[in-house]
């Protein structure tokens, strides 16, 4: 059974269709990234899956349960990482994590979780005094304290500095290696490429492409561009057979500044959403 199965999901606000017929399958243990520009319907879709929003039409099953009817048992298997919370400001990191641990039947050890997210040195600091990146790591700690089978991360690294993002990625990989299913929304393509097993691109409330980061949008089979420098200046050939092209060219000698490139994930993505 898939962790998430969605068919024909529709949600409209005042006549505007925010989600216009989405189908989605996420296998257990998979890291799945939903990419898309602002207003593409990412957050709405995720909130429907979390059971925080009603839907207008479609079938949704999350861990075998319809989110609109999910009870406490179901909730205890989910981990939701908030993206802009400032709650529990006067509690220390340890107090907050311990408090949330009490909600679950079989929580992780609070100190282990604090260590896992790299906040051991800040365990006694109040949440309100943490930096942006530290605060988001506390949010992750609170999201995974209940030993969830499925974790939702909605744009988790927005506003992070590069080092904090790398640390955060390590944390996600660690969770994934333990078998946790992860649904991630992001508009950072490198993030999707670094973390996700599979990627879907959402635009205008519809999924316009789906696949692994390497094959998305026919990327693996797209024409390659061969570039080199000759005495007549920079040369460029688009071809489906770059190996053959280079073999032919190299018969006349060494090729200066030779490169073979395929469209980056970003090129594919920008083409898909426009």
């Amino acid at each position: 059974m898939n962790a998430i199965r969605v068919r024909g999901l529709v949600k409209a606000y005042k006549g505007h269709q925010a989600v216009a017929g989405v189908d989605l399958d996420v296998a257990r243990g998979e890291v799945f990234a939903v990419l898309g520009p602002n207003g593409a319907g990412k957050t709405t879709s995720v909130e429907i899956l979390e059971g925080h929003r009603d839907r207008d039409a479609g079938e949704v099953s999350v861990l075998g349960v319809d989110p609109a009817r999910g009870g406490r048992e179901w909730r205890s298997k989910l981990g939701i990482v908030l993206q802009s919370a400032t709650d529990a400001a006067t509690l220390s990191v340890r107090e907050a994590v311990r408090h949330y641990a009490r909600y679950y039947g079989d929580p992780r050890d609070p100190d282990e979780v604090i260590d896992l997210v790299g906040l051991t040195e800040k365990a006694k600091s109040r949440a309100g005094t943490l930096s942006g990146g530290q605060r988001r790591r506390l949010d992750v700690a609170l999201g995974i304290i209940g030993r969830p089978e499925l974790v939702f991360l909605d744009e988790p690294t927005t506003g992070f500095d590069p080092e904090a993002r790398r640390q955060f990625w390590g944390l996600i990989r660690l969770l994934a290696s333990e078998g946790t299913t992860i649904l991630l929304t992001t508009h950072y393509l490198d993030e999707a490429e670094a973390l996700a097993d599979r990627v879907a691109v959402l635009a205008g409330g519809r999924i316009v492409a789906e696949g692994t980061p390497r094959t998305l949008g026919g990327r693996a089979h797209a024409d390659a561009t061969v570039r080199w420098l000759s005495d007549r200046g920079h040369q460029e050939i688009r071809t489906s057979e770059p190996t053959k092209v280079i073999a032919d060219l190299s018969r006349h000698g060494e090729l200066a500044e030779l490169t073979v490139t395929r469209p980056s994930l970003e090129d594919v993505y920008l083409e898909l959403i426009n």
Partner: protein, 271 residues
């Protein structure tokens, strides 16, 4: 390991134990918010000092005045305080986070009841202490009076908390909530015999005040703190009307419950 597997599925904590855990955390946060303690919780005590200096010329007046101020004080912590705390929970993400956990709404609410009872008791004790030190307040000596104090306190706190939470649904932010909650609170203090004796008000204003809980909480407390029951003649009706106090507060509790169950929102965004 069969037991471990079985207990994993069944081991979600009970509503009550979760509610008490919430209450403990709510209180911890309440007493750590120094600005709130300094400026909001101490406001009724400050008003009591200032107004009392003008109004209180004899011991009997001190008793009546202190009783009314205690009534106004606990409504500040329940109606205004709780309403504000729910709006803050909505604004800072607390409610959104809780909704994503297996913690049921009932437990959240039990936590708020713990918070509001302890903070209101704290407020009442603070006001009694100010009364004792500044106005030689005499505490009631009979168990019967204290019993009346206990039920008026409990019923008043519950009714006003519920209305506060219901009203807080209109407010989009803590900034607007301060206005939404304080306006009725301040106006009601005028209409309910806190700042001015109700018998000094015109009929229409007196009737308006009598529709709301504050008047009845204060009247109940005056019956507790009055030097003797002869002072009941100073009430608008000429008696303490304790039956009516229970009736009105009970009715508001029911109205509040209905309103909260109809209007409570987990977040500011539409569904």
């Amino acid at each position: 390991m069969i037991t471990a597997v079985a207990s994993k599925a069944a081991a979600l904590p009970s509503l009550l134990s979760l509610g008490l855990a919430r209450g403990g955390t709510e209180l911890r946060e309440f007493f750590r918010q120094k600005e709130n303690l300094l400026f909001t919780v101490s406001l009724p005590a400050l008003l009591m000092l200032l107004l009392g200096t003008v109004y209180v010329k004899e011991p009997a007046a001190a008793q009546m005045f202190a009783a009314s101020m205690i009534g106004a004080g606990i409504i500040s912590t329940s109606f205004v305080g709780l309403g504000m705390s729910v709006v803050a929970d909505r604004e800072d993400g607390t409610l959104k986070r809780l909704r994503g956990t297996p913690m049921p709404f009932t437990s959240y609410f039990i936590g708020k009841i713990v918070l509001v009872f302890v903070s209101s008791l704290f407020e009442a004790v603070l006001l009694v202490v100010v009364g004792l030190l500044r106005f030689d307040l005499e505490l009631p000596s009979s168990a019967e009076k204290w019993l009346t104090f206990a039920w008026v306190f409990s019923l008043g706190v519950v009714a006003c908390s519920l209305i506060g939470v219901a009203l807080s649904s209109i407010a989009k932010s803590t900034r607007s909530a301060a206005g939404v909650l304080n306006l009725p609170y301040v106006v009601l203090q005028f209409l309910s015999g806190v700042f001015i004796m109700q018998s000094a008000l015109p009929e229409s204003l007196r009737t308006a005040g009598s529709l709301f809980p504050l008047k009845w909480v204060c009247q109940g407390f005056r019956s507790v703190f009055a030097l003797d029951d002869g002072y009941a003649v100073m009430e608008a009706a000429g008696s303490w009307e304790l039956g009516k106090v229970a009736l009105v507060l009970g009715a508001w509790t029911i109205v509040g419950l209905v309103l909260v169950s109809r209007t409570f929102k987990w977040s500011n965004t539409s569904r």
